[in-house]
Each structure stands twice: as structure tokens, then as C-alpha cells.
């Protein structure tokens, strides 16, 4: 069965009020149901501005954005938010409630859920996020990683079809990043579309296969991480450093023909093992 388009961006132009320069210059983009995509680029490339169009916080100056068939210009943020869950970069910009449970239930209250049902659903999601022990504590007392997971829970709670995470790895340590990656993979495996906005190249290399690269308000590349992230030209234009494994592969290119998503460590090691097992190869060096 062909997957339907959940986000359709056509010739999107946008500039902030009172600003002179366009922040987005003719963006064209199609995202399909169930995709797991990273949007990458330097600071100020327009990544966050682009994703703010997905739930209608910003409306296009030219062109249009359709989310699950709905034109964002004709629908309110509250209507679109049911389809697109946008998790902001800094949890401190949204946390306000006195308990973790209330914080999680905020969106459900806004959408008019019955309180008992909302509570059940919130507990379910908090359990998934490993925060069930904290339901009655103040969200302000959580650690950075827990706060991040709470903000994800507070969006996942109403089961949006599309989840957008803005810079989820900023300020997170390795363990927290791994946990984040597990959550992202789990949500994606349930058939949800997940879009991760980030400039954390190693995180993308390890966990996300499809990449969109932006620079100065335009999309300069889109495709498989193994191709896009290892292309020096694109990386230079986007002012990004290629992933470490990508650089290793580049230097071994003459000897080894890497297959699969070699940016993932297990795949990389498998490629290397297969090559080493062949005595002829080793003699060749």
C-alpha cells in the first residue's frame, strides 16, 4: 500500500514581521506517513522556522503547507496541533504545572478530554517515558533529561500523527541521548512520522537514515544519510562537520566497498569484519 503524504510544502516563502530578509526561500518538501527524518543545518538556516509552519504557528507569506491534507492557512494552531505534536527545544519554555501529571494532561484539557480518561492516558504515556514514579512531583525539580522526556510525553499524550522534535539532544548527556533515540525509534515503529530538527551530526548518523539539509533558507540536499552526510560539498555549504565514521569510510574507500548504513557502528564493524576475513584483501595493502 502506498504511503500517503502527511506534510506537503510547496514553494514556501517566509519572513518575520518587520524583517527585511526572507528566512525561508521557496521550500519544497514532501514527507510521507511513517517517515523518520532529520532536518539539519547550521544555526539560522531556517530549520525551526520551517517546522513552526507544520502546526500553523507561522503562516506562509507565499506558497502553502498542507498537513494531513489540511491547508495551514485555513486552520487554527489548536486544530493542527492534533495532527502535529511540536516539542520545543527548551523545556523551561513550557513547563508550568505544579505536578508532572498535570503538565502531561495540559494538552488533553485544552482539547476537552474527560478528566478521568485524560488521567488514564497521561499515566500510560508517563509510564512509557519512564516518569511514572514522578507523577506527583513538581516538574521544576526534574533533571534535564527527565524534563525533556516530560515535554515529549506532554505532546505524545494526545497521540499526534506527526511528532516534531526541535533540537532534542541539546544539553543531553550520552545516556539521555540513547534513551531519546530509543523513544524516537519506538514511536516511529508504531507507524508515526517523526521529524527531528538538529545539528547533532553524530546523533543523526547513528539513529536516522533519511536527512534533509538546509542552508540559508533553502533545502540544499535530501536523501540517505550515508550519501548526504558524507558529501564534503554539501557539508561545507551547510557548515557541518561530517560524522566521524563517515570520514573513516572516506579514507578507506579505496580498499573497502562499504555496504548498508555504515554510519551505524554495528554495520560499519560488520563491513570491516567481512573485509578482513578475506586474506587477499589484507595482502593487498
Amino acid at each position: 500500500m502506498p504511503r500517503r503524504d502527511v506534510i506537503e510544502v510547496r514553494d514556501l516563502w517566509y519572513k518575520y514581521p518587520e524583517a527585511k530578509e526572507w528566512v525561508l526561500k521557496g521550500i519544497n518538501l514532501t514527507i510521507k506517513e511513517g517517515d523518520l527524518i532529520a532536518i539539519m543545518g547550521e544555526n539560522g538556516a531556517g530549520k525551526t522556522t520551517l517546522v513552526k509552519h507544520f502546526n500553523g504557528i507561522l503562516k506562509p507569506d507565499k506558497g502553502y503547507v498542507k498537513v494531513c491534507g489540511l491547508d495551514t492557512r485555513e486552520h487554527t494552531v489548536a486544530e493542527l496541533a492534533k495532527y502535529v505534536g511540536l516539542v520545543f527545544q527548551n523545556p523551561d519554555h513550557q513547563i508550568f504545572a505544579s505536578t508532572v501529571l498535570e503538565e502531561t494532561m495540559f494538552a488533553l484539557k485544552n482539547f476537552g478530554w474527560d478528566p478521568e480518561r485524560a488521567k488514564r492516558r497521561a499515566k500510560e504515556v508517563l509510564k512509557e517515558m519512564g516518569l511514572l514514579d514522578y507523577i506527583n512531583t513538581s516538574p521544576f525539580s526534574l533533571s534535564g533529561g527527565e524534563k525533556k522526556r516530560l515535554t515529549i510525553a506532554s505532546v505524545l499524550v494526545y497521540d499526534p500523527e506527526i511528532l516534531v522534535l526541535d533540537e532534542p539532544t541539546v544539553g543531553q548527556d550520552y545516556g539521555q541521548k540513547r534513551r531519546l533515540a530509543e523513544i524516537i525509534e519506538r514511536i516511529n515503529s508504531l507507524g508515526k512520522t517523526v521529524i527531528v530538527v538538529t545539528h547533532d551530526i553524530e546523533f543523526v548518523a547513528e539513529y536516522i537514515e533519511h536527512v534533509i539539509v538546509m542552508s540559508r533558507g533553502t533545502i540544499i540536499a535530501e536523501g540517505e544519510a550515508t550519501k548526504v552526510l558524507c558529501d564534503d560539498n554539501i557539508m561545507k555549504r551547510a557548515r557541518l562537520l561530517p560524522p566521524q565514521l563517515g570520514m573513516v569510510v572516506k579514507n578507506l574507500e579505496d580498499y573497502i566497498d562499504f555496504k548498508g548504513n555504515f554510519l551505524r557502528l554495528p554495520v560499519f564493524v560488520e563491513n570491516l569484519r567481512r573485509w578482513l576475513e578475506n586474506d587477499e584483501n589484507v595482502k593487498g595493502i
Binding site: T76, D92, I95, F106, N110
Partner: protein, 245 residues
């Protein structure tokens, strides 16, 4: 919504005047608008201010400020008309004009003087430096605050908060999810800021020296004389009984 308080750099003969001269100007006009309640005299006072705004290249920003103040201006007019039982429309106009002139006199000062210059004046007036700093920082953080406010509003709207729905009480309650993160965030920031300043030696020396020293130039003296002469002239004019209403 906080944009109006943001200081935008500019350059004009008015910008280059000594801030003390401009303070005197604002004070002079705020006194002048209280010496008479004749609408025609007050209208004259307002007109006199306009060339100054033009020279200072801030006429457009002043107009924007006035646009933002329209609800207040309308309210003042309405209350005066109502409480004087429609007997004295010109009086209501005069009160409204008084408010506008008062705002304009200070707009000239604030639109053309950098917060740093105002701080220097405060220091000259022997106000403790800590208070002066609090003042400049408050102005410095207005744009930051307004940006942050916008992010928080966006974040809560993304979770289905609809600020434009509901009656007035519901709407006030809906601002809680916005105000709480803002206040918490700002308090935390102020601690960080204080620590960062202390770690760079803030408060180490008792007697501060300043990079810029304010000096009266010839232009300042001329401006000062102009202000004094025109203020006395307008003052005498305002006290005469020539004004029809």
C-alpha cells in the same frame, strides 16, 4: 507587544545633545502643560513639539507609540466627557491633550537617549550604581524578554492552548501557563547573571570610573538657552487670557 519599549539606536542633532538638556526639555514641557487648561494653548504646545520629533527622526516611532496609547487616550476623553456631563467638551479635549503632551515630552527624551546615557545622568545625580545598573538592565532585557514570551506562547499554543477563546476571566486564567514559565525562567536567569557578573569582579572597586564623561558643548548651551527662552515665553503666553477655549 513589548517592542515599543525597545531602544533603537539612531543619530540626529537631538540624539547628540547632552542627556541633561533633554531631561530639562521634558520637565519644562510637562510643567507647561499643567499651567493652563485651554485646549487651544495645549494644542499649540503639542505642535511646538513636532519639529523636535522630526529633527530627531523619531516622528514615525512617536506616531506608533501614540497609536498604542489610543485606548488610554480614548478612555481619558470618554471619562472626562461623562463626568462633566457633556457640559465641557473643550475641557475634556484639554485633559486629553495634556496627557498626550506629557507623553510626547518624555518620548523625545526616551526615543533619542541611549539607556547608557540615562544611566550616566543617574550616576551624576548620586544615585547608587546598583540602582542605575538595574535600570539599564531592565531596558537591555526588554527585547530578550519579548522574544522569550513569544516562544512560550508558541510552545503552549502548540499544545492546544487557545488564548483568543473564552470570556475575560477564562482568558486571564489562560495566561497562567505563559506567565509561570516566563517568571521562573527570568528568576533563574537573574541568578545566573548575578553569578556571571560577580565572577567578573562586579563590585570590586568602590569608586567607579567611566569610559565616557558627559560634557556640555556649545550646542548644548544653545539648546539649553532655546529651551529656557521658549519655556518662559510659552509660560507667559499660557497665563494670558487670550485663549478662546
Amino acid at each position: 507587544m513589548l517592542r515599543g519599549f525597545e531602544y533603537l539606536r539612531g543619530d540626529s542633532p537631538i540624539h547628540r545633545l547632552d542627556p541633561r538638556v533633554k531631561i530639562l526639555y521634558s520637565l519644562a514641557y510637562s510643567v507647561l502643560c499643567f499651567i493652563s487648561l485651554k485646549a487651544t494653548f495645549l494644542a499649540l504646545l503639542l505642535v511646538v513639539n513636532i519639529p523636535i520629533l522630526v529633527i530627531g527622526k523619531v516622528l514615525k516611532r512617536w506616531l506608533n507609540m501614540m497609536k498604542a496609547a489610543i485606548p488610554f487616550i480614548a478612555l481619558i476623553f470618554l471619562f472626562n466627557v461623562l463626568f462633566q456631563r457633556f457640559s465641557n467638551i473643550w475641557g475634556a479635549v484639554a485633559y486629553t491633550l495634556r496627557f498626550i503632551i506629557f507623553m510626547t515630552a518624555f518620548a523625545v527624551l526616551f526615543l533619542t537617549t541611549t539607556p547608557e546615557d540615562l544611566a550616566l545622568v543617574m550616576v551624576k545625580l548620586k544615585i547608587p550604581y546598583e540602582y542605575t545598573l538595574a535600570f539599564t538592565m531592565a531596558i537591555r532585557f526588554v527585547p530578550t524578554l519579548s522574544r522569550e514570551l513569544q516562544i512560550i506562547i508558541d510552545a503552549q499554543r502548540s499544545r492546544g492552548l487557545e488564548l483568543e477563546k473564552g470570556n475575560i476571566l477564562e482568558r486571564i486564567r489562560k495566561y497562567m501557563p505563559i506567565l509561570i514559565p516566563l517568571i521562573v525562567h527570568e528568576i533563574r536567569r537573574s541568578y545566573t547573571l548575578a553569578e556571571a557578573m560577580e565572577s567578573r569582579g562586579f563590585g570590586y572597586t568602590k569608586n567607579r570610573t567611566y569610559y565616557y564623561e558627559m560634557k556640555f558643548t556649545k550646542k548644548d548651551v544653545v539648546a539649553l538657552l532655546c529651551i529656557m527662552v521658549s519655556a518662559v515665553f510659552l509660560g507667559i503666553l499660557g497665563k494670558t487670557l487670550l485663549w478662546p477655549f
